[in-house]
């Protein structure tokens, strides 16, 4: 009887382990595949001309495969989205977690969840029909499809993850901390920003990481509003991101062009790993300090 129980335990343990390994397996598979299919083109083009070349003409008679414009665009675009999205998301989260009446909170939270559930192609379409013409008339530029349009779309798209994760972090702060602060004579606002927010900072930082991850990885919505010309990034110019460089040409690509697209995907993958690693390092450093 005893051993039977133990056997069942082991079996369940094994099944759970297996299910856990599925995730790890997927990551490994993707990593191996990306590296294996991304390396040949880099070898052929050369790492420096590939990463630092400023011209991308993949189908020209004399093809050029320089992805510096895409790298810079992705960095600027993500930074811009964070610049707009994080303050809005952060203050919204503080308001919802600490200040808002229960009814307002439930309505706004439902709206935020809905925002998270909207498919990115819808963001792109609305951006194309409203934002792009809007930027065009507002700033008197010939065409509104630009880095700015992409930044605004991305900023809205990362709001839900920032708000939701920040709220969870803020609500997890023990009530005793806040009570102690209030008892010492601090006002509620002082308490939220001096006690609650610092206590929840690792969770809020995690929210920002999620936002960065979503912004740098988004392709569909960005493709529809950014114009996709392989220019060096500039706020009102048509630009192409790392993600859109891969997805816009993949369907008809062949030969070295296709391999180069895989190399771009590899670069994007390394970027995301780097960002995650940097922020993990930063978070751990803070905890110890």
């Amino acid at each position: 009887m005893h051993s039977k129980k133990q056997l069942a335990e082991t079996a369940v343990h094994g099944i759970f382990l297996l299910l856990g390994l599925v995730t790890v397996g997927c990551v490994l598979l993707i990593t191996v595949y990306l590296v294996a299919s991304g390396i040949p083109a880099i070898r052929q083009i050369g790492l420096v001309p590939f990463l630092l070349g400023d011209t991308w003409e993949s189908t020209a008679a004399q093809p050029a495969y320089g992805i510096l414009p895409f790298i810079l665009t992705s960095i600027y675009g993500t930074a811009g989205a964070i610049l707009f999205g994080v303050p809005v998301g952060f203050f919204a989260a503080v308001y919802l977690a600490k200040m808002a009446p229960a009814r307002v909170k439930s309505i706004v939270e439902a709206a935020v969840s809905l925002l998270a559930g909207i498919p990115s192609v819808v963001y792109g379409l609305v951006g194309m029909l409203v934002l792009v013409p809007g930027i065009r008339t507002l700033f008197h530029v010939p065409d509104g499809a630009s880095l700015l349009a992409a930044i605004i779309v991305l900023a809205v798209m990362i709001l839900p993850s920032i708000i939701k994760v920040s709220i969870t972090a803020l609500e997890a702060v023990p009530k005793e901390y806040e009570d102690a602060s209030l008892a010492l004579g601090a006002t509620p606002v002082e308490t939220w920003f001096r006690v609650s927010v610092p206590a929840a900072r690792s969770g809020i930082a995690a929210a920002v990481v999620l936002g960065v991850g979503r912004a740098i990885g988004e392709a569909m919505a960005v493709m529809m509003v950014s114009g996709n010309a392989a220019n060096m990034p500039s706020l009102f110019e048509s630009v192409r991101f790392l993600t859109t460089a891969v997805s816009s040409e993949m369907s008809y690509s062949s030969g070295l062009q296709r391999q180069a697209l895989f190399s771009i995907a590899l670069v994007l993958f390394l970027f995301i790993m780097l960002i995650n690693a940097a922020l993990n390092f930063f978070l751990k450093g803070h905890k110890e300090g």
């Binding site: 003409e57 993949s58 189908t59 020209a60 008679a61 194309m128 029909l129 792009v132 013409p133 065009r136 010939p142 065409d143 509104g144 499809a145 493709m223 529809m224 114009g227 996709n228 010309a229 048509s238 192409r240 997805s247 816009s248 040409e249 369907s251 008809y252 690509s253 062949s254 062009q257």
Partner: protein
């Protein structure tokens, strides 16, 4: 007893596998060539397979040049070319049969006063030589060039007809015809190009050299931004049974609807 049964089972399996093989070999239609013809040939192939259950249809998107080469070397039944055969290709014993025409409309915003352009002007606009609408009879506004992504059949067609390969100064490179039309409909200063069949009321197609793009003008050749979709076969050797059947189906009037559904103008 058991052994005998399994032996018999194995024999049956092998036989049926062989039977399957021989059936497939007789019922295969292989096509090879132009990537621009993907939609048209895909629609035709699908319909043909649906009508003939035991026939396998394959399409290898390699490009017009390699498709023609493949027919010549006997590596496929029918070659697909999105240009007319050159004289030296015909001289090697190839026949081209026009399946359809790909008409490409140059579209502008409905409010744009410019209504007629010629091919030279279009080329100058797209290569950045003319950058303002006022130079060609429009308002004083910068021309916004909208096109398709590298590798797209429509882009390839447009650029090869206007002679602007690798020289277009695109402001936007979008990945579908629908996106191009939406982008042009949202910007009064934009110009774009799209497959004739997909042009909608939200944009206006300009006349090219005075000729409006319609099915008729594309078919009779008076509208110049167009190219033929050609089925290439060997003149001296006849097609296999199923390949001939497909050829007849594709060039029959019944296929016209499928072809126009795929965005081209049927030749027959």
């Amino acid at each position: 007893m058991k052994k005998l049964a399994s032996l018999m089972l194995a024999a049956v399996l092998v036989l049926s596998a062989l039977a399957g093989c021989s059936q497939e070999a007789s019922g295969t239609v292989t096509t090879d060539g132009s990537t621009s013809m993907e939609k048209v040939i895909g629609a035709l192939g699908e319909a043909f397979e649906a009508q003939n259950k035991n026939v396998t249809f394959t399409y290898n998107p390699t490009g017009s040049g390699s498709g023609i080469q493949a027919v010549l070397e006997g590596r496929c039944d029918i070659g697909l070319s999105s240009r007319s055969l050159k004289a030296e290709e015909s001289a090697q014993g190839l026949t081209g049969t026009v399946l359809a025409y790909d008409g490409i409309a140059v579209i502008v915003h409905p409010d744009n006063p410019v209504s007629d352009l010629d091919v030279d002007t279009i080329a100058k606009i797209y290569t950045g030589e003319i950058t303002n609408w006022k130079d060609i009879g429009g308002q004083d506004a910068e021309i916004v060039l909208i096109g398709r992504e590298a590798g797209s059949g429509t882009r390839d067609g447009f650029e090869s007809i206007t002679g602007t390969e690798d020289a277009c100064q695109y402001r936007q490179e979008l990945t579908s015809t629908g996106d191009v039309i939406t982008a042009v409909s949202q910007n009064p200063d934009a110009v774009g190009y799209a497959s004739l069949a997909s042009v909608k009321d939200t944009v206006r197609a300009v006349t090219v050299g005075g000729i409006a793009p319609t099915e008729d003008t594309v078919k009779d050749g008076s509208y110049v931004i167009q190219r033929p979709f050609v089925l290439v076969t060997k003149a001296d050797t006849s097609l296999s049974g199923s390949a001939q059947k497909f050829f007849d189906f594709a060039t029959s009037p019944d296929a016209a609807e499928l072809i126009s559904g795929a965005g081209a103008v049927a030749a027959n």
